[in-house]
Amino acid sequence: MEFKTHEDADRLTLSFSGMLTFDDHETFRSVVTSIVDSPAPTTVLDLSGLTMIDSAGIGMLLLANDRASKQGKQLRLRGVTGHVAKVVELSRLEQLIPID
């Protein structure tokens, strides 16, 4: 997985590409750090470039959501398609993290 960061006044957007799997624990640590360090009250994770996600990847999204909400920030997901959409639908992830 790779990600790009875009920040404006009140919103941090992180755009992912590739696969989000067990092997991305290290990379994802910097995702969480970006969210925690940003002054923006809202973080959007744009998943439209993600081709696949495994259970560890879903766990990372849950972790990011937890860290954000502990700081009073809101995390949202966007651009959920393909395999990621199937996993999200099956796991009713929208009941845990808001999805645009």
């Binding site: 067990f22 495994d54 259970s55 937890d66 639908e89 796991s91 009713r92 009941q95």
Partner: protein, 394 residues
Amino acid sequence: MMSPAHVADLAPEAGIASARILIVDDLESSRRLIGTVLESAGFTNLDFAADGEAALARMACKPDMVVLDIVMPGPDGFKVCERIRSEFSPDVPVLMQTGMQEDDYRLRAFRAGASDIVSKPIDAGELVSRVRLHLERRRLMSSLQIYRQRMEEDLRVAQAMQHSLLMSAEQVDAIAGPRGARLSTFYQASNTLGGDLWQVFAVDETRFGIFMVDLSGHGVSAAINAFRVHMLVTGMTALADRPGVWMQALNRALVDMLPVEQFATGFYGLVDRAAGTLTYASAATPPPLHFRADGSWSALDGSGVLLGCNAAADYPVRTCPLGAGDRVFIYSDALYENFRDPEASLETPDLAAHVQAALQSRDDFQAALLSRVFGPDQAHPHDDLTWVMLEAGE
């Protein structure tokens, strides 16, 4: 050249001071010089050989390191080194002394299997440093090897324990058979240990429950969680006739048990042949496949909030009619997701076709399905793989 007093500053750690070092040189003065240097440096267990044949004979004492001259009567250093590698030890450090500075000798030394070379005339500081470096490296390697062997042994024991959690075919038959059904199951961890688990419970005289769970991640942490889930559900038999309540109870327990980034997916179904139903609750389970006796099939709704994430999550009870000869196939995502080649991931209808073909195959169902999905070479799946096939009797 460093004096012995300076060499003493490079004294080895206690662990390698007693390492057995075999010094091979045809000149007595050279043997004595190397011996004195190493002794001054604190090495206490030195052994000597005056030619190649004597050196090979001394190899029976299993030296920890060999300091080897090249030009000797009888087999030369290259030959001796080759024979040490082929007949005694592929990894004992062999330090070759090269008097000639030609590159050809150095290359030949390494080709013969030397670990390192040291120039002649011997520089005491260089000799001691190289001997110490190789002995320390060897000690580190052997402690890593011991550690690795112990870990592998631990994992094998843990794997056997994990397999013992799963019921035998006889135990399953004893529950399902009298209740008008047959079950066949499959479990394979992606590494030694896995986070998948299935179980079957008798509910009363006519009904039984089927449970399957997939803990996120794999390996040791997932396996430990599988053990904990096994303990949990063993204590939940009083709820076994109410799938929704059962799943809620499991979810609440997992919310307390699992850290925020871990979760589980799960299926719990109650088989009631008298009523002709499978009633179930599901948490993010891949759509179970219902194959009817008439040859048609449909995918059941397996969706539901991930277990262990939200204590307030609700798990609706769904019902699937279960007629004589019907089958329901419940499986983990490793059966259709292909992370090596995403394009090769199976859609539900593709998987259903494979299962139907495997059911009609003359071969064993398990072998037929694995071969159809993963190819004849049975490439190892990315994740733990589990399935349960339920068949309603006549």
